[in-house]
Symmetry: D4
Subunit: 214 residues, 8 copies
Amino acid sequence: MSDFYSRLNKDDAVVLLVDHQTGLISGLVRDYGVDEFKNNVLALAKTAKFFDLPVILTTSFENGPNGPLMQELVELFPDAPKIDRPGQINAWDNEDFVKVIEETGKKQLIIAGVVTDVCVAFPALSAVNAGYEVFVATDASGTFSKQVADAALTRMAHSGVQLMNWFSIACELQRDWRNDVEGFGALLSSQLPGYQNLIGSYTGAQRDLSKQTN
Amino acid sequence: MSDFYSRLNKDDAVVLLVDHQTGLISGLVRDYGVDEFKNNVLALAKTAKFFDLPVILTTSFENGPNGPLMQELVELFPDAPKIDRPGQINAWDNEDFVKVIEETGKKQLIIAGVVTDVCVAFPALSAVNAGYEVFVATDASGTFSKQVADAALTRMAHSGVQLMNWFSIACELQRDWRNDVEGFGALLSSQLPGYQNLIGSYTGAQRDLSKQTN
Amino acid sequence: MSDFYSRLNKDDAVVLLVDHQTGLISGLVRDYGVDEFKNNVLALAKTAKFFDLPVILTTSFENGPNGPLMQELVELFPDAPKIDRPGQINAWDNEDFVKVIEETGKKQLIIAGVVTDVCVAFPALSAVNAGYEVFVATDASGTFSKQVADAALTRMAHSGVQLMNWFSIACELQRDWRNDVEGFGALLSSQLPGYQNLIGSYTGAQRDLSKQTN
Amino acid sequence: MSDFYSRLNKDDAVVLLVDHQTGLISGLVRDYGVDEFKNNVLALAKTAKFFDLPVILTTSFENGPNGPLMQELVELFPDAPKIDRPGQINAWDNEDFVKVIEETGKKQLIIAGVVTDVCVAFPALSAVNAGYEVFVATDASGTFSKQVADAALTRMAHSGVQLMNWFSIACELQRDWRNDVEGFGALLSSQLPGYQNLIGSYTGAQRDLSKQTN
Amino acid sequence: MSDFYSRLNKDDAVVLLVDHQTGLISGLVRDYGVDEFKNNVLALAKTAKFFDLPVILTTSFENGPNGPLMQELVELFPDAPKIDRPGQINAWDNEDFVKVIEETGKKQLIIAGVVTDVCVAFPALSAVNAGYEVFVATDASGTFSKQVADAALTRMAHSGVQLMNWFSIACELQRDWRNDVEGFGALLSSQLPGYQNLIGSYTGAQRDLSKQTN
Amino acid sequence: MSDFYSRLNKDDAVVLLVDHQTGLISGLVRDYGVDEFKNNVLALAKTAKFFDLPVILTTSFENGPNGPLMQELVELFPDAPKIDRPGQINAWDNEDFVKVIEETGKKQLIIAGVVTDVCVAFPALSAVNAGYEVFVATDASGTFSKQVADAALTRMAHSGVQLMNWFSIACELQRDWRNDVEGFGALLSSQLPGYQNLIGSYTGAQRDLSKQTN
Amino acid sequence: MSDFYSRLNKDDAVVLLVDHQTGLISGLVRDYGVDEFKNNVLALAKTAKFFDLPVILTTSFENGPNGPLMQELVELFPDAPKIDRPGQINAWDNEDFVKVIEETGKKQLIIAGVVTDVCVAFPALSAVNAGYEVFVATDASGTFSKQVADAALTRMAHSGVQLMNWFSIACELQRDWRNDVEGFGALLSSQLPGYQNLIGSYTGAQRDLSKQTN
Amino acid sequence: MSDFYSRLNKDDAVVLLVDHQTGLISGLVRDYGVDEFKNNVLALAKTAKFFDLPVILTTSFENGPNGPLMQELVELFPDAPKIDRPGQINAWDNEDFVKVIEETGKKQLIIAGVVTDVCVAFPALSAVNAGYEVFVATDASGTFSKQVADAALTRMAHSGVQLMNWFSIACELQRDWRNDVEGFGALLSSQLPGYQNLIGSYTGAQRDLSKQTN
């Protein structure tokens, strides 16, 4: 049995979205294309929504250059706890943040944020030490460069953080398509243009044949 | 005066969308990321819509592996002429296609399509020879690789095709923000996450100050 | 002695090909060139064939947008067990799949599939936990991007999965060229154009000299 | 009318394959992946075959380190003139080579070879000066690096050579799918794994529906 | 004599800095690293200062998401004309902008800006048509991606715009080191860390020997 | 609790800058752009200064081709111990170097240098074995290529070195913005053009509104 | 103390050069440029020579397409044991190879070869299991692609192989420049053009000053 | 007949090597790997030597940070005119430089240098205007980045400069292998490791067969 592997479970998981603020994304994130990054963040958010996972939002100095939380996240999670940290860089240093996590009673943390090497890595490492199973959504987390991201991901991986992407997180939570084929297909289609094209082609092919057979 | 430069004018321009079909995009386009490419194509389409330009759609064998036209384009342009070519690879070889262009009475053609080296380059070069001013939306056109795209774009540039991207096309058509500040801002914001972030931060900053001053 | 290294052995190994379906490859795989990826998958398949390893095929929703299994795999392994999963995303959750593995009595699993972060990583990690020695054929497995692949490969490596490529798998199984020089040479030549060129040049050089000496 | 554009016509075209020798490919070509390059060269060759274009082969020092012509080309064109140049680097300096071209009576030359900056560029530029319309199949031509290829392609483009890729050459020669839908589809499918996947998915979708409707 | 080449002359040149605004740089520029881009823009600005060239600043909607002009430019050129365009996207459409250029009496325009495909390309092409010699400082101009930049630069080059970088502009204006060795050396050293290192090593070597000889 | 994670603490940390000499940077560092690398090194140095951490400088053969220490480091740390090693490649082999570290009484070492695989990796690995907690500032360390850096960083990570970048080091030391909002903001702004732009835009937005409300 | 780190020592080390054969390099190595790779291999070889380390050469089927050992290696090590393996792919399976290693009595193995994933990884992993300390010279080892190399290096690193490059190996063996300043400088200069340039500039600077002072 | 193409002729050509100085290469060249660049420069120099072309050397401030000319060039061309420019940046502004060119009576200039955008582009463009046929050896010319090189090469190509690489220059000068098969083969082999490997394999293959037939 590997010490480094545990399996995500939708009943045990909570999603932490850390500092996805307009200024930070605009000014600092350079390891993903802008279209790709926005889609990835929304994909993770919609995944959380689809599985009804508890979501906890946190920001650092919204009233300043870092900018407000992405508007789409505000709208997707109007009732989620949102911890506006008055100064702590590592969200884990904010007692309210840790407390709302504890109150969920969950032991699996899915974390994404901006920037990867700070806003993600710091609470992720703290959470491992606090006994949580930690999963980082690497492609919904951005930073200055691929080189900076690689260093941060290596640091986390060696400490037991499990590196995943939003799609594998969604699939692991879903477990079986039959739990909701249509809903899950709609989720993928809305955030994966590649998958949307497949569905378009398949539907088209059926329509063609259906014309021919009539 | 350069022979190679003319200025796009919203009263003189028509948009040709060639073979943006789900199968072709999925199976053949590899010079743009999937998120980026979808956003670019929709951006060009919405630009055409915003400026009320005549749009002409054409497809190659929708009833087959190439797949149907992207659903979003169908929905955006329900009344646009749509030429389903029965076999001609170069859309310019299809008389109906040329005829609907001629009927617009416009002399500036904005072309995008899949794949760049065939579905875009062939009609673009034919149109130059037919006396049109031709503008290719390079980033709403995709193909097998960067190397293939570069060869095709070079071939077109040397024949007088003007290489643009959807954003510069939109800006050249708009000419002056004052023609419709809100509308144009909304167009950019919807397709440029980078611009959307700027607006988010600006609005946030105003909200902050407004709180302070009250 | 390293806990992370064990040596592939053709008497102990079984090959699991997971979801190499036309739609998934076409719509989702972007971390390998299309020519390269097809050649890699066929290379792994022919390697399995050459060594007479048990092969187990599995698919996810062949009757849908994911598309059918690559035709070449169907033809290469007409008698292999093929588990069409009715919904389970992690193939290890499908009891039939695990059962046909167990029935082989082998303890070394060679896994490849589409996409790496889900269809490969999930059963690979489950198999490690079930006590198998797991080898992933990284270059016969594809996914959305190099960044996504890197995260998934890191996750697997830290849990004890051994990362290999089809060529090193073939070489490890072969052990000694003398076991079948011609057969093994033909296998490499058919899937490695670089090696085929070497053989072409060598044969040419011999022919030249042979002409000169006669 | 552009001076830089003319349209390929299967009745006017001849294909020149220059020095696709095993040693040169193996030792010198680094601007394309090995799988991709082999597939591209065969694709151009099969295109020539499919359209029954005259093909002229030429080599430089086959009896030496450069190695023999790729075996597949020998087999595809057993009756094609093959000019083994005794020393001329620019094939156009070889009178026999020019003579067999002249004897075809064609005015459009499609050229590919190894290496791009010499074996392709030299005869291409000579042919332009001799009054031919010259089309270079860029992706069936290889050389030391992308930077070297870019310089050579720029030099050719400024002298009137038209840069194309094998796929656009095939499409320009075909003009209309209806000239031979099945044959042309088979050509594309055999050399474009991306297109092969589309056909696989389409066929699969039809089979599915056909099952459902029976 | 080439129609496409003319030589920069410090007595004939004026520098146009178009829309180097904090928001646009932050939100849109992705074809240069952030450190590199800032250094390049300042380098061009300091070059203009060093040669006492007339500098004309212009902005688009400073009072909004585009943000204010980079503070360093404001400070470097407190007395330069600064045209805050009320809406014109192409600065050449603003009569005041053209007028201040005309008033300089210069015929060589050095242009840089954000983004390359719009704020640079539009006035550059207009200026060529108006009879100016136009030089674009490519590396002090930024945009969405390398692909977008390439298309825009190709379009400009074919229309007679001369593509340069800040360093070659500085060198062409300087003509001869002896015009001011120390001043020019200081300019290069302040913006080229690579050159600064050379000077550091040279000075160090001299110090070493000087110690030895004493 | 992870064995691979410990948290930087400004009371426990000392910074070791190893061989940031003009010749070595100029001649050997190729895994970072020159502007980016200079900015990163200065950023780490200013971070050390800001937090008043003890800094230890060391050089290898300043009186020779390696060149003198970067002048900016000399000026930033006029009173720091500077160990000019007479020959030892691994700084840890120099007793004076180890002694000044020991005399600080700190247990956390932040190391950066040129080149990563030697001047950083050797003392970092020695320090781990000597019982220190070691943090490498990867982006203030440079070497021959990305491939060489990756191998060295992998070697260090597997031995317990924690890979960080200057920004995450600064943030970990700061812990809470409220410890000095203005000072920390100035530090970030001076070395992160992306952050500087955010502040510029925010300030601009406030100025705008303030005008409107007056 | 890390289990993953040990320090190279010139009295304990032996160098194994595995299958650096002309055909394999030419046909298969694509993760390094050809100039760079040749220089790296010779650099490692000259390092071994400089430190008088025992060197063991081995080849796989020299009499065939793989080609002979690089001529430079033959000339550098005329008296080294050279094990021409009759068929074993993993050199460790060849008893003679293991025997000559054992006869050196050394416990540290420095391994390089072609291809990394087979000819290097297999004996490296076997040697770890046999109790040796194993160091792979990553940049003197080549293979099909960066992706294949990364998988192989990850596999080795997790099993305890230490990843180094030829330069860090040379530096670790040298320990102190004073052991032979001129000899070591000459070694670096001959294989590192970057270092050679530094020496050229330094010598030039001294010459300059010396002229001035006379 | 193209205005942009003329053919190099060894009786008409002279080689200009501009500012290949150790400091400039070390501090500024970043668009080629260091091994590759050194090999390219030497290859061009040896090509000039092999064809007995007149070579003209020039430097800018050898007595300073730019450093002396590469020592290998000094040794290869002890009798070549060497113009040490006292200040002119564009070598064409130096009357002595132009005069030694004129004295050769040649009309074809092959130019290479550091940096491409200044030391190469300036005299190349001046020479075109002075009526020379100008060929730039792109891969023996280096500069700050690929982007800077691309802009400079585009500028030159549009003015009639022909872009070549050292290998195509050598081949164009050689015209026919039979002019000196051994000499030309030795030239290629010494600077092209890829070609050297081919010769190694071919010689090996002959040796093998020769053993078998005896």
